[in-house]
Symmetry: C2
Subunit: 255 residues, 2 copies
DNA sequence: CGATGGATTGAACTGGTTCAAGTGGAGTGG
DNA sequence: CCACTCCACTTGAACCAGTTCAATCCATCG
């Protein structure tokens, strides 16, 4: 994983159907998944997909680079091919709240008015696919199924943010971290189709802290706490094994 | 304002066009408003409105009664004629997070899948108008403008919840209360069209606390703090005058 | 008039923060 | 190949914003 900032590269897609072919790690089979990665392509047939692929641009962003910024004109929507992205909002003095982490198959920029209401940054190196937003929005009339899918994605995302509000407002540090680990597990099950208890954690402690409304130190302490309670194993900072998922789930729900 | 729970009353609407005529305190003129009360009726012409009015049921709920509960089948969508409603989620042990307050003109139940993901309760006596959800959702195809409007409302609501996540995760008690007062002010400006600094606060301290992720005591102390700082006047617990809105806005934004 | 319940205030406490120091792994350069 | 730097992470100790617990106030209502 490269960590040095580099100029981003941009190119026309070589495989026109990549949106359809590669970008749907999750689909109808994964209805249970809680987050944003209901794919758009289910809503379109092959001809329609061609049209949308043709207006797309493939972009590679190295880790740590900004993809789009809060208050910038929302000209594009983005689909993540692979890698991890964070969405965040800031206060004037630098305090940051991460509103969500996005993974392969996820979209962002869809539910904006005319400006992005958050900053999107690459956590790992990412491959993303960019579409002119006006063209997508404009084609809702022609392809109602597309609009329905976008509505469905927004709806699902709204429900997830309600859960996150409960977490931010009312859960303890330990409960927050347990909830987070379970969300990550569910996500990686969806993406990798595996039913393992081993989780890769692509983001750093500071990102987790800003997502859960805590500090880096508290995150670190809670990780060691869970380890001492024999609920997790910590291979390194970015790989965790949930040795007792049931107990973690119980804590996450406040029991 | 009645406070005793009473059996709710239910009746067919006498004025078929009440949805159109009375329930749009806000409309295009109020685009700047941040929350859920973009009206649906703008999306429909008179004939269409008649059809929707005919499938609606008027309901009166006294204060403190439950309108719909988390995990209950989401059979209806609701439009608030007047009064104030709270949406909330709970943890097993009773900790509560209020995800939003709704006022005249607001809708809820739209962005659910098949179960309500929150409990809706009347804070004051409310008059609400109930529509079978399936019929509304089903008519998106026939009336695309309706679907677009619903999407727009959901989108707007999502942006508001992102702001609330920043508040819950990163703001101090004082900043939280100032942000809340300003939101209430904007809301009452929209509803009453007045540019006053006097705000009626329909909810009690405990509701405010559960909305801001704090305790009743902290809310109370912060109210007196703001009063001592000469930023607000407190006529009684439910009526506040913002004597220095600029200073309050500065605090709310973290300055 | 006493009872009830929301709101306020006070005082002690604590979960999480802040500040500061230490650790370890990856990259760099000699 | 080793020494050095850097940076993310961890750990410790003091601190404090907000909580908890308890008492009081005060408006409303029967």
């Amino acid at each position: 994983m490269s960590t040095l900032p580099q100029p981003f590269s941009e190119s026309k897609p070589e495989t026109q159907l990549r949106l359809a072919a590669n970008n749907c790690p999750t689909n109808a089979a994964c209805e249970g998944c809680s987050s944003r990665h209901l794919s758009l392509c289910n809503a379109l047939d092959t001809d329609e997909l061609h049209r949308f692929s043709e207006i797309s641009t493939d972009i590679h962003k190295p880790a740590k680079q900004i993809i789009c910024s809060e208050d910038e004109a929302a000209d594009y929507i983005y689909n993540i091919r692979n890698g991890t992205v964070r969405l965040s909002k800031m206060l004037a003095d630098g305090r940051r709240q991460i509103t969500g982490f996005l993974f392969a198959g996820d979209f962002f920029g869809l539910s904006c008015k005319d400006k992005y209401s958050y900053t999107a940054e690459a956590i790992t190196d990412v491959d993303i696919c960019r579409f002119p937003r006006a063209k997508i929005i404009g084609s809702f009339k022609e392809f109602p199924a597309l609009g329905e899918r976008v509505f469905e994605m927004t709806r699902t995302e709204l429900e997830a943010t309600h859960d996150q509000m409960l977490l931010l407002g009312r859960k303890t540090a330990k409960e927050k971290l347990c909830s987070f680990l379970l969300t990550l597990q569910e996500k990686s099950r969806c993406l990798e189709g595996q039913d393992k208890n081993e989780i890769k954690i692509p983001m750093n402690r500071s990102d987790i802290a800003d997502f859960l409304g805590l500090t880096v130190e508290t995150i670190s302490r809670q990780f060691t706490n869970l380890h001492k309670m024999n609920l997790i194993e910590l291979d390194d900072a970015h790989k965790v094994v949930l040795t007792n998922p049931e107990a973690i789930a119980a804590i996450a729900e406040g029991n």
